[in-house]
């Protein structure tokens, strides 16, 4: 089959998911709102002392980003599983991993990307130093697609279960820990005006591996869930 038709499949699956997310706006707004609520509640709970907030900001921002990514994960394959679209994707002449890559990209566009864009504003709320702003945005830019990839593996494994949400969190959260460690470490390092290229490189390497391997893992998991 010609190359352009692979692209046709990718764009069709991608645009379907993005269109659906825009039609049910809560899918885009909910994670972002959750992110904002966590960020605004912290200063109320621990006190508005600027130095303390700045010290805790990287951790809070990243934990909030991680949890709000999890909010929408369950939905990533649920609707397609329920209405039979997943079977149609499997019974298509194209590799399932390509459709999966498109679905994960769509998930990131609708949940991860808005967080990356809003992060500088939220970082200001936490009194994060200006020099750490760049690192925050960069780690989120590399880290949130990684979260989507890893989370989608868990979502694919649990899509066939009636209440797979909790099991999925248990499966996925431990795998999020390395991302969290390197991302917050990068922001910490940058707030001390040191080079944080090393941590970013590791995050980038993890993303590269996830890009290649996760779609294969996800498509195998989906085939198991469907059968």
């Amino acid at each position: 089959m010609a190359q352009h038709s692979y692209w046709q499949l990718f764009s069709s699956v991608y645009s379907k998911d993005v269109t659906l997310a825009f039609r049910q706006r809560s899918e885009i707004v909910n994670p972002l709102l959750f992110f904002l609520i966590v960020i605004t509640l912290f200063p109320l709970a621990i006190g508005p002392e600027p130095a303390l907030l700045a010290r805790m900001a990287p951790g809070i921002i990243w934990v909030a980003a991680l949890l709000s990514t999890m909010l929408g994960l369950d939905k990533i394959f649920r609707d397609d599983f329920n209405d039979g679209s997943l079977e149609q994707l499997i019974a298509s002449p194209y590799p399932l991993s390509l459709s999966v890559l498109a679905k994960v990209s769509a998930h990131w566009t609708t949940t991860g990307l808005p967080m990356v864009i809003m992060a500088p504003v939220f970082a200001l709320l936490m009194n994060l130093e200006a020099q750490a702003l760049g690192a925050t945005v960069l780690t989120l830019l590399i880290g949130t697609p990684l979260l989507s990839f890893i989370g989608a593996i868990g979502a694919a494994l649990t899509v066939g279960l009636q209440k797979g949400g909790i099991l999925m969190s248990l499966l996925v959260l431990p795998l999020y820990i390395p991302v969290l460690i390197f991302a917050t470490s990068a922001i910490d390092t940058s707030s001390m005006a040191l080079a944080y290229g090393g941590q970013l490189a590791i995050l980038g390497a993890m993303l590269a591996i996830a890009c290649v391997c996760a779609p294969i893992a996800i498509s195998s998991a989906l085939k198991v869930s469907v059968s």
């Binding site: 269109t19 209405d83 079977e87 149609q88 499997i90 019974a91 002449p93 590799p95």
Partner: protein
Amino acid sequence: MRITNLLEIKSVTCTKQERCLFESLSFSLEAGQIMQIEGPNGAGKTSLLRIIAGFARPDEGEIFFDKKSIRQYYDEFAAQLLFIGHKTGVNGQLSAYENVCHWLCVHGCKVDKQAYDLLADLGLVGLEDVPVRTLSAGQQRRVALVRLWLNNARLWILDEPFTALDKKGVALLQAQFKKHLEQGGAILLTTHQDLTTHFDELKTLVLEYQF
């Protein structure tokens, strides 16, 4: 020229929840043939169709399409397969036209304006652009069945295609079956109603409910 044994099922066994649905089931389907699978509820009709479509793995046995094992050559098989199950793969939030276009892209068919005419032929005039969930069950089924007019697959696997369709819809569908068979395709379907049109090459397979 007729290609013999387009689809060949060799001693397939399926067990679910410790109940044997069918054991060492073998049959074959030639190009131009239609096979109707009959049996009471729970006899394993849907399970059989899902195994043949490659979604589920049989406990034993193998399935060949064009003399090639579908496990090994699934992509080639998928290019020749059209499967419409109980879950039709129609998204309720999207419009009928969007659903059809998406399906065409997923199955590597060309997208053109033809889809609008076809939706009209199937009695969905003026409903092409409203969300499918607002349509009636029969109309939603029609949206799913548009695929029968738009594919180049040789094997159709249809699980209860007549559900919720009116008499006119059933007749329309059977006319399309006939056309597909004349073009050298094969059809495997389950249905509780008898086919009202006469097919020369009709085979029936009866699955018994086993305890």
